[in-house]
Symmetry: C2
Subunit: 223 residues, 2 copies
Amino acid sequence: MADDRRKPMRVGVLGTGEVGRRLAAGFRGRGHAVTIGSRDPDKPELRDWLAGEGEGIEAGTFAETAAGGELLVLAVLGDAADDVIAAAGPQNFAGKVVIDAMNPLDFSGGFPPKLSISGEDSLGERVQRALPEAKVVKAFNTIGNPYFVEPSFSEGRPTMLIAGDDPDAKRTVTDLLADFGWPDTVDIGGIEGSRELEAICIAWVKIGGARGKWDHGFKLLTG
Amino acid sequence: MADDRRKPMRVGVLGTGEVGRRLAAGFRGRGHAVTIGSRDPDKPELRDWLAGEGEGIEAGTFAETAAGGELLVLAVLGDAADDVIAAAGPQNFAGKVVIDAMNPLDFSGGFPPKLSISGEDSLGERVQRALPEAKVVKAFNTIGNPYFVEPSFSEGRPTMLIAGDDPDAKRTVTDLLADFGWPDTVDIGGIEGSRELEAICIAWVKIGGARGKWDHGFKLLTG
């Protein structure tokens, strides 16, 4: 259905940890041209991945990845966001849909983590402020990365909650999410909704810690 | 099933708004002896309610209600919590399970509300600090009050998320929730989890605003 609805895009995923790899593979699997960005695109573990699970994905520097992508995904650790945006070049995000899949997790006090940005701010808002000409959409941050693509639970599909200031960008992300196997995306409003979505990440992590397993996700029931 | 498992308790519900009334009626309907506490227990609208939907429920001052209850419920507006606790007498909460169903909502900027307490604090934590000898359990704050009792959605029952420092108190609340028609309660940890649960309230409210209706709730999918 994706191919009927949308042309393949050039997608740049910034970050080569599990979150970045899962998302890069997800976009590649849906027919998009994907570059994955790293501080060191030649590092052996990345090359190994590109030769295996990451087949068909290109690697580049953060700047190359950001410059080349029509749609960009921020998928680094929350604490690295500022540095990665600086390395990627803020101008390379201008006018583009930017998916913020990050969480500002502070593990300095052990498990469970706390939010390193909270109160009247959030990482999503900070990213939008750092990239005022980008259309930042918070997504993928309230579920573990094994569920990014075709999530399935015994009682059905979970709900993706998203937030962002640009309605068109949220429609684009909602369509992409449908292709990823998330038929139910709920838009909670402007990018300041990242405050709630990042808190929901903490709740997700605490539930995993309490259960001792990580096979859980939220669904919005209606009607 | 409730009657097999548990003796009726004396329950004191502080607050006569919709949240307090729904909870008071819920406890009454499950065979408990319920007092509902108000600044003015003789006010006509409360008397009207007690003569109708609230039949069988007693009314008292905050202090009478807190002194008489074996289990207490804080169900006033979040901003009123400090005053109501002071009026009720902090000593009247000592040693008791106290359900905090409140949210610190700030509507001063219009809709959607923001949290008036956020960052490295929450109303739940504040209540626990104000009542150090009470066993505070955050519950009922992530769903609209029409769903407090026997919640039902087309795709099933929602999940109640709770937080608190006392494991026994959380077991008591989990059992009570099962009687209320919430078979699935998930404990996210200590009372500092109120940070997440209060943020989830904001998400719930924003989703209602976006959908233009309020028939929604969260379910945790697993496995």
